[in-house]
């Protein structure tokens, strides 16, 4: 006997993500899901962003971490609300875990909410968290083949950041090859070339994220 089901396996995740998106939208918060490999510089990128923007925006962070709270501790100095989700080995965050921790934020007093996903380029790409957009962050030290190897992430990304551009002279990173692959997958995606340690290119990023937030009506 065959029983037809015809259902999205991740329906549960998707339904909760839609619920989160509606809630976040109603509170006029810009929520961003940051996806990268381990060590690409997500936390440093958030440190720089907090330094530049906390005077203008009320920022909150959801920190997805496999087992520790080290990343969250690095961000504590900005005196902003941070909630850690330890996935206990899990390789990605899902919408239910986001929904559970949203209660811990004062959503009426928040402009931008960053989610630092678990370091991984495949798994987080398949799970909608209810974000306004995904940000793909890669670094030159990882090699130039990331867009070609992980097309879903780059296809879904609302913005792409290439970090550690100061290291290009010391690696075999081929910038033209990276851009060729990225343009094949998502031509025209907002793209930022930065060095979070040196500061290169970050002003354009700050301007872009500020503009995105301003597109939501002021509270």
């Amino acid at each position: 006997m065959e029983i037809k089901i015809m259902k999205n396996i991740l329906d549960r995740n998707q339904n909760k993500a839609d619920e989160v998106r509606n809630l976040i939208k109603s509170k006029k918060i810009l929520m961003m899901n940051i996806i990268s490999s381990p060590g690409a510089g997500k936390t440093t990128f958030l440190e720089r962003t907090c330094e530049a923007l906390t005077s203008r925006f009320r920022i909150g962070i959801i920190e997805g971490d496999v087992t520790t709270d080290r990343d969250a501790r690095r961000l504590q100095k900005y005196n902003i609300p941070i909630v850690v989700i330890n996935t206990e080995g899990g390789c990605h965050l899902d919408s239910h875990s986001i929904s559970r921790v949203l209660d811990l934020f004062d959503l009426d007093n928040l402009d931008i909410l960053f989610i630092e996903n678990v370091g991984n380029l495949i798994c987080p790409s398949g799970f909608d968290l209810g974000e306004a957009f995904k940000l793909a962050l890669v670094s030159t030290a990882e090699g130039d083949d990331k867009p070609a190897k992980y097309p879903l992430l780059f296809r879904e990304a609302g913005a792409v950041v290439l970090n550690k551009i100061d290291l290009i002279p010391y690696t075999n990173f081929n910038y033209d090859s990276f851009m060729h692959d990225l343009n094949n997958i998502k031509s025209g995606v907002p793209f930022f070339k930065v060095s979070c340690t040196r500061g290169d290119g970050l002003d354009e990023w700050y301007k872009w994220i500020s503009d995105q937030r301003s597109l939501l009506t002021d509270k």
Partner: protein, 113 residues
């Protein structure tokens, strides 16, 4: 390793359907995955077998159909299958595209008795 979470969610759907239909044994689960999801079938089967251990679906075979990536060109309305990673219309070259297939994680049916 997103295979594990997806296998767990699939097992819940399968076991719920088996209960509803009063099946004593689930023999086969038919699913479709889009190519972009990058599921490794062997890991997925392993994860599913673990998720349904000691249940009516413990010996179910999993039939995985992999769906190639298809896009629709917003500009010229052409539907086409993507070859490799070049996401551009094969008629007019536009990169303004909508994914119409390739992101599925879909359960089609279960078989049992």
């Amino acid at each position: 390793m997103h295979e594990i979470k997806i296998a767990e969610d699939l097992s819940a759907i399968v076991l719920e359907a088996a209960k509803r239909e009063k099946l004593a044994r689930v023999t086969k689960v038919n699913i479709s995955f889009g190519q972009l999801i990058q599921i490794v079938p062997d890991i997925f089967r392993f994860a599913f077998n673990e998720a349904v251990r000691d249940s009516v679906a413990e010996s179910a075979e999993i039939d995985i159909e992999i769906l190639p990536v298809k896009m629709k060109c917003i500009k010229c309305k052409n539907d086409f299958q993507v070859i490799g990673n070049r996401f551009a219309c094969n008629v007019c070259g536009s990169t303004d595209l909508e994914i119409i297939q390739g992101k599925e994680l879909f359960i089609k049916s279960i078989e049992g008795e």
